[in-house]
Amino acid sequence: MNIRVRYFALFREQTGCVSEAVSWSGGSAAELFKMMAAKHPLLKTQAAALVAINDEMCGWETPLNENDEALFFPPVAGG
């Protein structure tokens, strides 16, 4: 399936890209992150990282569907 991935803040700096198109066999957001971490060696899993799909916050176990956009948020620090 074809999806898009967007990176923010630290993750954007670690991957060197804002967003990219990905073609893969499907799975959860966590599995997608793992695949992208294999592609971008500086991208590391962080316990406090968050994920959203199509602008809705969700859990890392959430599966992606065709044409979804996954947003990878590094640990947040508002306030």
């Binding site: 916050m57 947003l71 306030g79």
Partner: protein
């Protein structure tokens, strides 16, 4: 808008007026300011990156949750984005209620949830010339030894 993101200076008095109500005997205001140090480093300025589509949606949910949990009348939260100088107000939470306990509790709830749930990132620029994303786990593990662009 009960939750909003602003790229200009926060007008504290105007924010307070939006929660004014004659039925309320209490107003609690929390302001988060840019301080000149963090974890032993002298801070020069700070930069907030906000992903607005999700931050605004989740921020509105947090305000709604505060209304469900506490007996408050009005609540408002404004968060800054972009480059901020020392002493500037980065975030404000205003809560009004008939009695003070609910306003204190709701104000605390809103700022805590805002800090932990919203896609907002803070990059500190230190006097030393180094800059770092706050809460970066690799920074913490490396004792602030590595550089970010």
């Amino acid at each position: 808008m009960k939750f909003s993101v602003s790229n200009t200076k926060i007008d504290v008095e105007a924010a307070k007026q939006t929660v004014a109500d004659k039925h309320c005997g209490a107003l609690v205001v929390f302001e988060g300011w840019i301080r000149d140090h963090n974890e032993g480093q002298a801070v020069e300025r700070l930069e907030y990156e906000v992903y607005r589509p999700v931050a605004e949606k989740e921020g509105a949910k947090i305000i709604a949750e505060a209304h469900e949990r506490y007996a408050i009348s009005h609540a408002l939260c404004i968060h800054r984005e972009g480059l901020l100088e020392l002493g500037e107000c980065a975030v404000i939470v205003c809560v009004s209620s008939a009695h003070r306990d609910a306003a204190f509790d709701a104000c605390r709830y809103i700022i805590d949830e805002t800090k932990s749930r919203l896609p907002i990132w803070k990059k500190e620029h230190y006097v030393s010339g180094i800059s770092e994303w706050v809460n970066c786990e690799q920074c913490a593990a490396a004792g602030h030894a590595h550089r970010h662009p």
